[in-house]
């Protein structure tokens, strides 16, 4: 018998042993995540699409696959900020993002928020008001449609292309100036 056959047999034994690793009474749950959010759409929908997405996507986010599913905001560049009420640094950067939101209102760049804690829509909007967030907060369906990787730390801000491709992930407190610098580096018109 050849070594290759020995290897195949050994792998088969290993596979059988893994199959035999039984769990009695475990309860597999459905995969679908219910969306308790309303269908509110960001209030600052884009008016035209940019043409710079693919150029920068390949150089700045090689490990993040593009998301083929469009959301309502398809066509604009997006600055998407994850916030949480338990995150003190998040609250520090909110005024800066509010300023950015105002100044970019006439551009093709949206400033959008995501409640990292995934509270229900009513709670999320109430918390956003209490935190002084003036930019739109996405609902769970919109977040899911974007397919953004869940942040491993807060605050996290993503720069997303018009085709919903993540160009950059920024972790930590951002300022208006730091994001303008990045937009310039990425050649995103603003």
């Amino acid at each position: 018998m050849s070594p290759l056959r020995y290897t195949i047999i050994a792998l088969l034994i290993t596979g059988v042993s893994l199959v035999g690793f039984t769990v009695i009474g475990s309860d597999a749950l459905p995969n679908q995540m219910p969306d308790q959010a309303s269908s509110q759409v960001p209030t600052h929908a884009p008016t035209h699409a940019s043409t710079h997405a693919s150029t920068h996507a390949s150089t700045h986010a090689p490990n993040i696959a593009p998301n083929p599913r469009p959301i309502e905001a398809l066509g604009s560049w997006k600055i998407i900020n994850y916030w949480s009420t338990t995150c003190a640094p998040c609250r520090i950067e909110i005024p800066e993002l509010n300023l950015l939101f105002d100044e970019l209102a006439a551009s093709n760049i949206q400033v959008l928020g995501v409640n990292f804690d995934e509270d229900d829509r009513k709670t999320t909007l109430r918390l956003a008001r209490r935190l002084g967030i003036e930019f739109p907060t996405l609902n769970l369906s919109e977040v899911e449609a974007l397919g953004l990787p869940a942040p491993s730390a807060l605050p996290t801000t993503y720069i997303v292309s018009p085709t919903n491709e993540v160009l950059t992930k920024l972790v930590g407190i951002q300022t208006k100036a730091s994001i303008y610098t990045l937009l310039t580096e990425l050649a995103i018109p603003h």
Binding site: P3, F21, V23, L29, P34, C87, L154
Partner: protein, 419 residues
Amino acid sequence: MRSNALKNLLQTLLVGTLLMGLNARAQDLQVSMLTPPVTDQTSLSRVITDAKGNVHLSWVASKDDSSALYYATLTEANWSPAHLIQQGNDWFVNWADFPFLAVTDTGMVAHWLQKSADGTYDYDINAVFFDQEKHTWGQPVIIHKDGVSAEHGFVSMLPLGEGRSFMTWLDGRNTKPATPHSGTDNKEHTMAGGMTLRAAVFDRHGETLEEWELDGLTCDCCNTSSAMTATGPVVVYRDRTEQEIRDIYITRFADNQWTKPLAVSNDHWKVPGCPVNGPAVAAQGHLTAVVWFTAKDDQPKVQLAISNNDGAAFGTPILVDQGATNGRVSMAIVDSGDIAISWLHTNGKDAALKVALYSQAGKLLAETEVAGTQSSRRSGFPVITSQGNDIYVTWTDISAGSQVKMARVRFNMPPVSAD
């Protein structure tokens, strides 16, 4: 070439043999779903075992803006009715920062977070103490005495005996800007400080007996964990340095004082934000074990470290999971001295609630998936406790609404901690 093939064959056989050995032991593992007296719209559950071996489940029921904290006790195979601890309309309810219940020798103590009256997002740690003789809960007390409207939370608790309880928490009293000096034109606030780690001992009525600041700069929003070793309590938490290294640290109460915090493992995870993913510690005698999540270089890992000297020094970290995990760890030590760990293994938006058993030598003895769940924050932090050689695990099922679940994992295997 033949030599390489033989080498590959031997390696494959070795792995197969190891897996078969693990499987042979794991076949004696049983997962049983339990039926605690919880309703729907429940979440934020935690499970603990008291000194008598009774298992207690606590959870929060939410309706509109109202929240209520309950507990129920599992004695042998029988559940008590659900007992209301406290309810309110001004609680701060968060998936990562949720109530703790501890059972002392004279009663119980439980906490929840209540919004500060004058803060937009500030909250205090409120606690109630149960008098076993009078069979009543006392009046709520705020456990921190700073009087500062700031964040206070991520509590862990331990019973200490003689009715006393130990609590540790993250305290944001220094994060608030100081008031500018009066009589000056300076409208700028002074620079605020960082989140601190504090701890205190309370008597059976909630009076503070002692209080300490354990660390002057910690991560802002990761849960703390505490355990009682043979020589005293230990606290583990996610530290934060000026350079934004956020590794897991431990401090011990030894010789009547808290030791200088030390890294359980120098992962050197530099991250200028909060992972919302704290560690868990468990102890039995001098054995102390810590499990934690780290993601240096965007590589998520769950790691285990073991100490045989009350947490004074730890061995090399043992990799529990990597890549497809978002942490959310919990830990318990069973009577045999083996170490149980729970964590979430992720697959996109889906996740598996995993439980594994390790020997004191760090050898994986068994591993199973307790339930399918989701990566979503709404599925919360699963929590485990031990009773004898069994593990009890609780989590939140969000497949249809939100409901607390509980299961028992029974490891029918001889203790092998000495291997």
